[in-house]
């Protein structure tokens, strides 16, 4: 049985899975980290049902009812507080509806916030919502006496600010856009600052409050207040508009899985921006400049619109949360299929589907090359990153050998990412081993090819040296002998010189054969066709030679030539063939060589004996394949394929 715990520290550094042994595992409460109230302990329960792993019975059922009871408790507490807070206004009449709605909204905010905070990765978001709820309760206080009026008035605007902040974060746990990052503190500062200033400048007596209210007034001049009021009004509208723009931008930016949740959040954002940014500012404008006395209808309308907006926003949140839940269920289903993946590339494709991130890269640490290898076996280039984040995945022994390069939107969905990673851990490990093996294999092949081409260069140089050096010297000696012979009429001299000439001829022939055996010049110059023809001619073997008139890489041509030369020699010397057919053709990007003879057959490659084994080695060194079909008495067919990619 496996229990998981999540390190609550920066999840960008690691996601750990601690395997705890069977029955003796420590109680989860003891190992998970506590931060004060157990409610805010982000305990992670496996979101995907792993095949063959039963859920930990000790954990979930114990915590659930506890949490539910807690939520009910604070919900009731909030409701009671709201009743108390709005007590002066709870008389039958139009206002009762507003107060009830307010109470309902407050409960929603507080309970919703608490519930959200208990979800993994949503702790701060939940707290924000909870704070908005508490501030809302504060702002709903209808008692004129004491400091409540002032506090309530300031609190009213902070509700919107907190929710705005939440909307720019959810479902992520931090603000990523630089504009958002500038906007939020600015919004806080301006709204809070101006309202505090307003508090100081406004005298409650102007608003019809009796002297019972404690108001930190220093302002005497209504003019100053008016100025500040207008500034506040302008700033609020600007903030509302900017927030609207940012929310729309955020929606546009959202990709992948978060997209599904984005629309209800957009609606919430737009409604909030319009109501709190614009509508709310119309009311005080009207009361200040047109209706000097606080008109009840306008007041009622304003409060109702506020409450309605909050309801809509909470509704949108609810829908977003529901969509998120449905999505996770879908992801769980997909994850169940992923268990069967073994190939790195298919695994990567599955991850891309599950996380709705088509550009996701599965990377494996290559200690030898000190970098990351992608699923195809190539070294990954991480410099061109753009909006991607590298999420390392640490394993049982805390080492990081696997990482995912994901879109930053996906990286923010920590809970989802964590679940996916855990569910595919085994598959990831397999994929990693496979990729590393593949990379090693490719390295070996490349080094063999380098060796082969180096050898080829050496041989060609040797052949040229023989030609330019030794052969030319011998030839000039031959010319010298002919000159000497022509210069004399003495027959004895002629005879002697003829002897010398014969010896020289033999030497030249041997040298020629040697150079040809090392590397035939005609192969370099004219390619496989003429070279094979020449070899057949030298063996006096009737051959049907069909060579595609093109060139291939030099190492490949060299290997193909020598394999053919060997095969032709065998055909003549060992199997007594009378006819031979040689075909060289392209097969895709590979070279396909076929040599058929009508000799005695029965050729077997015995290990260690030159001939066929040598052929096989030549072919293998270039990563090719060689097949020999040689039934006794039935001729021999040799097929070789050389990859030329």
């Amino acid at each position: 049985m496996v229990g998981f715990g999540v390190d609550e520290m920066d999840m960008a550094t690691s996601m750990r899975a601690r395997v705890t042994p069977g029955r003796d595992e420590p109680r989860p409460e003891a190992t998970a980290e506590h931060r004060g109230c157990p409610l805010f302990n982000a305990r992670v329960f496996p979101l995907a049902a792993r095949r063959g792993v039963r859920k930990d019975e000790g954990m979930r059922p114990a915590a659930e009812p506890l949490r539910r009871r807690f939520l009910v408790a604070i919900g009731l507490l909030t409701a009671v507080t709201m009743i108390v807070a709005q007590w002066p206004g709870l008389v039958p009449g139009r206002w009762l509806v507003v107060h009830l709605v307010n109470g309902f909204v407050a409960v929603l905010l507080v309970v919703g916030g608490a519930r959200l905070a208990s979800r993994p990765g949503q702790r701060t978001n939940g707290r924000l919502m909870l704070a908005a709820g508490l501030v809302f309760v504060l702002s709903s206080v209808g008692w004129d006496a004491g400091p409540w009026a002032a506090i309530g008035w300031v609190a009213q605007s902070m509700v919107a600010v907190l929710l705005a902040w939440l909307l720019l974060r959810y479902p992520g746990d931090r603000l990523t856009d630089p504009y958002d990052r500038v906007f939020v503190p600015a919004m806080f500062g301006l709204v809070l600052g101006l309202r505090l200033l307003e508090t100081v400048l406004w005298n409650p007596i102007w608003g019809g409050y009796e002297g019972r209210a404690w108001w930190p007034t220093i302002g005497r001049s209504q003019g100053l207040h008016t100025v500040n009021f207008v500034v506040m009004w302008l700033v609020d509208i600007v903030i509302g508009v900017v927030f609207l723009v940012l929310v729309v931008r955020r929606h546009r930016r959202t990709t992948g899985l978060a997209r599904r949740q984005a629309l209800p959040l957009l609606v919430a954002g737009v409604v909030g921006a319009i109501v709190f940014g614009v509508v709310n500012n119309v009311y005080p404008l009207l009361t200040t400049f047109w209706f000097q006395s606080a008109d009840d209808v306008l007041n009622l309308a304003s409060s109702l619109s506020n409450a309605a907006a909050l309801l809509v926003m909470m509704g949108a949140f609810g829908v977003a949360a529901l969509l998120g839940g449905l999505q996770r269920a879908r992801v769980s289903a997909l994850l169940a299929d992923m268990d069967a993946e073994h190939e790195p590339e298919t695994l990567q494709r599955s991850l891309r589907t599950v996380l709705a991130d088509p550009g996701l890269l599965l990377l494996f640490k290559d200690t030898a090359a000190d970098g990351w290898i992608a699923a195809g076996g190539d070294l990954a280039d991480l410099s061109v990153n753009g909006r991607r984040q590298l999420v390392p995945v640490s394993e049982m022994d805390d080492a990081v050998r696997v990482a995912l390069l994901v879109d930053e939107g996906v990286a923010q969905q920590r809970d989802l990412l964590g679940a996916v990673v855990r569910a595919s851990r085994l598959a990831l490990d397999n994929a990693r081993l496979q990729t590393l093996a593949q990379a090693r294999l490719e390295e070996v092949t490349r080094s063999r090819q380098r060796l082969a081409s180096v050898g080829l260069e050496e041989r060609r140089r040797l052949e040229r040296d023989l030609h330019d050096g030794a052969q030319q010297r011998l030839l000039s000696v031959a010319a010298g002998i002919a000159t000497a012979r022509a210069a004399t009429d003495d027959p004895v001299m002629h005879e002697r010189l003829d002897d010398v000439r014969d010896g020289l001829r033999a030497a030249l022939q041997e040298l020629r054969d040697l150079a040809n055996g090392i590397h035939p010049a005609v192969l370099t110059q004219s390619g496989l066709g003429p070279a094979i023809e020449s070899a057949a001619e030298r063996l006096a073997l009737p051959a049907r030679i069909q060579v595609e008139p093109r060139r291939w890489p030099p190492e490949v041509e060299s290997a193909a030539y020598f394999v053919t030369a060997e095969a032709l020699t065998n055909a003549v010397k060992h199997s007594g063939a009378e006819r031979v057919g040689v075909t060289v053709a392209s097969h895709g990007v590979d070279l396909l060589l076929t040599i058929v003879d009508d000799g005695a057959g029965g050729a077997t490659p015995t290990p260690g004996s030159g001939g066929l084994t040598g052929m096989r080695d030549r072919v293998a060194a270039l990563g090719g394949t060689l097949v020999t079909v040689s039934p006794s008495g039935g001729g021999t067919t040799i097929s070789a394929r050389f990859p030329c990619a």
């Binding site: 000039s476 010319a479 000159t483 022509a486 010049a521 005609v522 110059q525 009737p542 051959a543 049907r544």
Partner: protein, 221 residues
């Protein structure tokens, strides 16, 4: 006779120059690359040029290309291509188009003054010279031998000399036959083998060589 030499090996060139002088030829120019050779031929207009097949810069077939260029521009200059190895494919290339006054000999032939001299004189005269080694190789292929069974021994001898580029009179001399007999043999050889008869010794060399090459390849294995 005035000749020009082109070979990138100073050593070999020196030996060849000594030999040709001994044989009474007039060396009017020496070059070690194709460009220089062409300039020289342009300027000096010799009777014959002796060119190495492999020349700088690529040591591929610059010599062959230069030979064909000389033939085109200066039909009066015979070109003898020497090479350390003979390839049938090169021979065929050399003979494309106008086969007059071109020759292809193995460099080894320098050990025999008479052969070399004859070769040079023949190309200067406008004949075609093909190294017997090529011809022998082609004829010796057992399959070719079978097809050539239809020919009489005499006809085969005539064919061999034909392939070397000999004129009818030269063949008559070598085989101690009368020119008329040689003509008859040639005609019947061509008919038996199904080769279209060519008007002169040069053109028919190519025809014969091509034929022998094709015939040397076996049918379906």
């Amino acid at each position: 006779m005035r000749v020009v030499l082109c070979d990138d090996s100073g050593l070999f060139r020196a030996g060849l120059v000594a030999l040709l002088r001994e044989l009474g030829l007039d060396i009017v120019g020496e070059a070690d690359n194709a460009v220089r050779l062409l300039e020289m031929v342009e300027g000096v207009l010799p009777d014959a040029a002796i060119v190495d097949l492999r020349l700088p810069p690529t040591f591929g077939d610059e010599g062959l290309v230069a030979a064909l260029t000389i033939r085109e521009r200066h039909p009066g200059v015979g070109v003898l291509v020497l090479s350390t190895y003979v390839e049938t494919s090169y021979a065929v290339r050399l003979l494309q188009g106008n086969a007059r006054g071109v020759g292809y000999l193995l460099k080894d032939r320098v050990d025999d003054a008479a052969t070399l001299l004859t070769g040079i004189e023949r190309v200067a005269r406008g004949e075609t010279v093909i190294d017997p080694l090529i011809v022998t190789r082609l004829l010796d292929r057992s399959n070719a031998a079978q097809t050539l069974d239809v020919l009489s021994r005499r006809e085969r001898e005539v064919l061999a000399l034909l392939a070397q580029g000999r004129t009818n009179s030269a063949i008559a001399e070598s085989l101690f036959l009368s020119p008329k007999t040689v003509e008859a043999h040639v005609a019947s050889t061509f008919t038996k083998l199904g080769i279209t008869s060519a008007p002169d010794a040069n053109r028919r060399v190519l025809a014969v060589l091509t034929y022998l090459r094709v015939v040397g390849h076996s049918p379906e294995v």
